[in-house]
Symmetry: C2
Amino acid sequence: MLGDVVELSVVVRDLEAAVERYTRLFGLMVHHRGESKEFGFKNAILPIGIGHIELLQPTDPDKAVGRFLARHGEGVYLVGFECQDIPGAVAHLRREGARVDGRRPDIAWVHPQDAHGVLVELRHRESYG
Amino acid sequence: MLGDVVELSVVVRDLEAAVERYTRLFGLMVHHRGESKEFGFKNAILPIGIGHIELLQPTDPDKAVGRFLARHGEGVYLVGFECQDIPGAVAHLRREGARVDGRRPDIAWVHPQDAHGVLVELRHRESYG
């Protein structure tokens, strides 16, 4: 069900400081920047290999990304894995009692409490980038 | 410098519970088990795609893995990236002021405080598994 890691989301306190450090230390480049009022973050996408690193700064302490930062400090928040059959994976996970947000055919999320602290994202090949 | 993610180390409280969950929910299989008295953990390696997930349970609360669990709870502890030129990467990182353990030609580690909470591992292709 889980293929290669294609996304790694890292929660940071200061997006600009993190972008400066990741580009300078690791030779990465920013491919895209975005912001989500709904989910309370701003982000930068830095491609690596077949996928990307996403640096995420919370903009709302009461939403999930902000709560993660307050509770855990900076670090890996979400890992996205290649998955060729999202609806099949979602059905299997639900049968096994996992909490899954599986409303979309191309991407799904497994609750971190069901994966020992990892917010697992399942991504279909067309949805990388 | 950073290629694909080839290792994802997840610190867990109970290795057997985590192995049971990751195999049942995600269809993974245990390829190898190990223990390190020096670094204070026991682990299980579960292949995915070109790399693997490592589940890590601390066996000594005073060593790095145990301190991570006490401070952060369960979650992603280390991310290993493919890197074709470890000595070149280590030299670059040191010039840029990052703290790097680069004693070996095939694997190196960047201090998590220099990568916004991510313990970055650089791995040469021959050192996956």
